[in-house]
Amino acid sequence: MAGLSNSSSTNSKLWTMAERNSFVVGGPVPLESRAYVERSFEEELFSALTANEWVVLLGPRQSGKTSALARLYRRLSTNGFGCAFLDLQAYGADDSYGHFLRWLSQAVAKDVGGIATEREDLESLEEALEETLPDKPASIVLLLDEISALPESWRKRFFGQLRAIFNARTRGVEDSVPRRLACVFGGTFRPEEMIEGDNSPFNVSRYVKTAEFSEADLSNLVAAVEREELSPYIPTIYNAVRGQPYLSQLLLSYVERSAGSEQADPVEDGLRRVSSGEDRHLSSLARQIKADRGMRDLLPEILSGSLRFDGTDDDHLFAEVIGVAREENGRLIVANSLYAASFEGLGREEQFVEPTLPDRVDVLIVTANDIETASVHDAFSGGADYFRVGENSYLDLGINSGIRIVTIRCPDMGSVGSAASTLVVADAIREVNPTVVAMVGVAFGLVEEDQQIGTILVPDEVAAYEVGRIGTDDGGTEQRVDRSPHYNLDPTIHGRLRDLAVVQEEDIQFGIVLSGEKLVDNKAFRDSLLEIEPEAIGGEMEAAGVCAAAERARVPWVIVKAVCDFADGNKGTEKEFNQKMAADNATEFLRRAVEAGALSL
């Protein structure tokens, strides 16, 4: 990230490793970070697993679930458990259940040991695990994060098979999968909507909720990062956000950065910045509320402060899960005073008029995973209304710098699947008729010596490397002939983006980006890609589909990606943190391009 760290832009939102402050704002807290305070729910989680229970870990976004799971992984792994961490939103490319089981088998084998199954005919989770798991360690825990990301087509089947595995724990041989396995299901979801009650593994799991910071936790946090001088601000911060983990760290971070300035009340200033939309936490939560009918209906009652808490009511429980409310003295009340002030208007009926297709769409932004999607939602503040056209759901991000932006997420990764980029973008172009199609997200780097995690890649050419001819040479040896279609960036947009990079003095890399169906995490395969395109600067999975669909409809496209790994077998290392950094960097550059008029055609 050398180029970015030399940036002269003082208000740059782009991240560099050097710019991290004492507190971790956004993304999971790295294992080695001191800015971490263990909370009581983590002990409950550990205790449940050592008592051989299964666990549902529910909590709001940005409440530290993934950070807690990472630490749980480390704790269990160093104490004799075999532990596999599976971020289910990272799964994609093919929607068959058998494919998913092979993916799961690979992920488990990588973390726990054992041999990943290659069987094409697998339909049983228990069988997949039986084939994969090593003899030792005997006790296995699967940490399944973001389970709501699983495709609906076979989600019930997966959960049904998990429930059957759970039920079989009391019989069979001692070393069988059911006797060895425990699961943690993490996320922000409604368990009742994942699967019917009688077939649900959640019904036999212990429910653990993430907890907010106490004032003492915040004191411990500032002590851990050796910023005790911030202690006087803790009561004010706590009163405003009641220990919400992300907001607490964000406000502490604001206060820390204000040191030496003449800021009269840095906490008040921080709260103003959050409320103004500079940070996207509130808008993200507002979107969650709007997207859920039960939450929309409940919010006015929550804000009234007189709603009796009913622990048998799914809506009451979900309000706690997304973090907008908490139970206190038998009432379900708004979680903190910041939310109370921010969501006051949200409860009014007129706010919930079903949105419709906007009159015009200037830029359609396409994403392919939750992290990319969250980055886009956070970066554009013109609005936040979902609308549907046909089978597709869009989010209208409103007018940003005079440009109407709408975004859609491809449910599946890759270009080829039934819900992957080619068909989704083709549908979207037909349905919302955008002037430009833009895709932002993450990629792997191919020029490791000149790139870092977060380096932004703008392909002036996309090569779909899957296409080729496999022939045989005279000696009988396999011969591969590249026939990959190449797609070129619109020259006007290309020129404007290069100008923007120069003006902003940022190291944006332009060049050929390879696009294919494989989630590459193998150095030998990565190197073989460079034989196809020696000049390639990076690779990813969806751009080929976006370009193909856009070019067919004669709509200009632009792809902005940033490096989240080097496809060298180390994808799992700080994966989510790196993906978040990369997605944020790519999105921020796109936002600046919109702001600078680079996409106004």
Partner: protein, 627 residues
């Protein structure tokens, strides 16, 4: 000396009364400061006044001599005691009677008292002077009748073996035992905990044989340390090993150590989630008998509410049927949402070959394959069948609806196989519908709450096997019945919480519970919440509304219908009767038409959590309006 009061150091405070009495046997009353403060001092003084300070010092002196002789020589005869033979015989007999927990053998004529297994005690004594971990392990294995000893190597100076136990509510099927010679501490305990998790699936308990007990201020005796371990490790030093070796019930002696030293969350016999372990399965004798009798002529369906124990009963029934000469085949159909997935599941599970385009007509082929390799008549036990049934009933295609269950009925009527289905709402509704093929095909067997005796046993039995008793047993059992009405999952919930209470107590104070302990649990909102969600299970909003109206005094279908009408809810008598029938299935009410009453009698009080029955009626009416 008649009285000693001991200052409470950490070790002394946690010492059981029995140990103190052994240590100071010649003292009439011995107690810690804590015990003195509670009531022991007053009791001792009252007793001293009553007995005028007199006590039989001869008896206690003789007991001391007997104890010492047993320890050093393994036996003692009347000639070894400095009293006339008749007195000596009485002393030996008295010692044996007072120490029933010791593994003693009194000669028929009372002339000699010896260890029943003198070799065990001798080895334990020898180990104290010359420790050999392997020999200590062998002694423990022999004493506890452990089998299949298998070395797992060593970890941080700890030699580790895996053994098979006669599993019960407390002891796991495989018990890991480690031993270490010399100094030991946190590192060795952690190494054994880790090794246990590495080698034995789900094992929560391990034993560490050591030469010396942990010091009172050692980390390894701190509860917080045990809670941080992935497996709770119970240190057994040589004195404790001697106690186990000389115990009439070595298993109980070991469990006493577990109770006092383990993190009980990991040695908790209760399970509040999922299928009950065979060791924890209590009662259901009439349901099992009904099932056996039914299968002689018909198929059966086990129907009942959520968490009532259908799956556990189905699994235990399979074992019973096997013993009765049937050939049972069990399948959990959680994931079988259509015929094809049913075929895929059972093909794999029962190792049969079925066409990929499986249709109900292929069931016959399935039964033929099973019959070819079975001795007895075939019975298929199909758990969680609602999902498949729903699909079978509603699919549209070339084959008519409910073809799967029609095929089952044909096979049952031909006596080719019998079926036992288990499910909840869907199967119940089909069985109650005279137009359904299920109506006269399989006999519904309702799985409701446990009987009072079984419910008592489900709570007190596992606690007893952990060495825990109720001070006021009858009162506590009355309370458990009042608050559970025999719902097995709620009984286990209370048991689980009671073990949690014990776990928070000092070691010496873990062996008894009382009515106050039960009240601590049931008076909490968490219990009410659990009670409501468990009993209601998958009840609809309408059924919840009926529940609250019954709590307000409506006790017949007619009155309920009027009460609904008054509140603007248009419901037919049939609708109300169907709702009541489902509440009856859930074990919430008894009676169907004119005399409806709560079987789950705590329900009105549990509804207080939601603002009371009246408030809940209003809330439900609002919910129904919104819906």
């Amino acid at each position: 000396m008649s009285l000693i009061v001991l200052a409470d150091g950490r070790g002394v405070a946690e010492a059981p009364v029995r140990i103190l009495q052994t240590l100071f046997e010649s003292v009439a009353a011995c107690m810690t400061m804590g015990q003195a403060e509670e009531s022991a001092l007053v009791d001792a003084l009252e007793s001293a006044v009553k007995n005028n300070g007199a006590r039989n010092t001869t008896r206690s002196s003789l007991n001391n001599l007997i104890r010492l002789a047993l320890r050093s020589d393994g036996q003692i005869g009347v000639d070894d005691l400095p009293v006339p033979p008749e007195t000596a015989r009485l002393a030996l007999a008295g010692y044996a009677a007072d120490n029933e927990d010791l593994d003693l053998d009194l000669a028929v004529d009372g002339s000699k008292l010896a260890w029943a297994h003198p070799q065990r005690v001798a080895v334990a004594q020898e180990l104290k002077s010359d420790f050999d971990g392997s020999a200590a392990m062998d002694l423990l294995a022999e004493t506890l009748a452990l089998r299949d000893i298998q070395s797992l190597g060593s970890a941080s100076r700890v030699s580790v073996v895996r053994t098979a136990t006669r599993t019960d509510a407390v002891l796991p099927e495989s018990l890991v035992i480690g031993w270490v010679d010399g100094e030991w501490g946190e590192t060795e305990v952690q190494a054994l905990a880790r090794a246990t998790r590495e080698h034995v699936p789900g094992s929560r308990l391990a034993i560490l044989l050591v030469t010396q007990p942990a010091t009172a201020d050692s980390d390894v005796v701190a509860r917080s340390f045990q809670r941080n371990l992935v497996t709770t490790v119970v240190p057994v030093d040589l004195e404790r090993l001697l106690t186990i070796a000389g115990s009439a019930s070595p298993r109980d002696a070991l469990v006493e150590l577990i109770l006092r030293n383990a993190d009980l969350t990991k040695a908790n016999p209760f399970s509040t989630r999922g299928v009950t372990r065979p060791e924890m399965f209590y009662g259901r004798s009439s349901e099992k008998a009904d099932l056996l009798a039914t299968l002689a002529t018909n198929s059966a369906a086990l129907i009942g509410g959520r968490r009532i124990g259908k799956t556990s009963l189905l699994q235990r029934s399979a074992e019973l049927l096997s013993g009765e000469g049937w050939s049972p085949f069990v399948a959990d159909l959680q994931e079988a949402g259509d015929w094809k997935s049913f075929a895929a599941h059972v093909s794999n599970k029962w190792d049969v070959s079925l066409p990929k385009t499986f249709a109900p007509s292929h069931l016959e082929r399935l039964i033929e394959q099973l019959a070819d390799r079975s001795q007895g008549p075939i019975v298929l036990l199909l758990d969680e069948v609602d999902y498949l049934l729903k699909w079978d009933q509603s699919h549209r295609g070339r084959i008519p609806p409910e073809a799967f269950f029609r095929a089952c009925r044909a096979l049952s009527q031909e006596k080719a196989a019998q079926f036992v289905f288990s499910g909840e709402r869907t199967i119940s509704e089909r069985l109650w519908d005279p137009a359904s093929p299920h109506w006269n095909f399989c006999r519904p067997l309702l799985v409701k709450q446990l009987t009072r005796a079984d419910s008592d046993e489900l709570l007190s039995g596992p606690l007893a096997s952990l060495g825990v008793t109720f001070e006021d047993h009858e009162e506590c059992m009355d309370l458990q019945w009042e608050f559970t009405q025999g719902h097995p999952q709620i009984v286990q919930f209370i048991g689980d919480k009671l073990v949690g209470l014990l776990n928070d107590r000092p070691s010496a104070d873990r062996s008894t519970l009382n009515a106050d302990s039960l009240h601590q649990i049931v008076d909490d909102d968490e219990f009410r919440q659990h009670y409501l969600t468990t009993y209601w299970g998958q009840a609809t909003d309408f059924e919840k509304l009926l529940t609250s109206l019954i709590a307000l005094g409506s006790t017949s279908v007619t009155v309920l219908r009027d009460a609904l009408d008054e509140r603007g809810v248009d419901a037919s008598g049939e609708n109300v009767a169907a709702g009541i029938r489902m509440l009856d299935l859930y074990g919430i009410v008894d009676g169907m038409h004119d005399e409806i009453s709560f079987r789950a009698t705590f329900m009105p009080e549990a509804l207080e959590l939601l603002g009371g029955a009246e408030q809940f009626v209003l809330d439900q009416l609002q919910t129904l309006d919104d819906g």
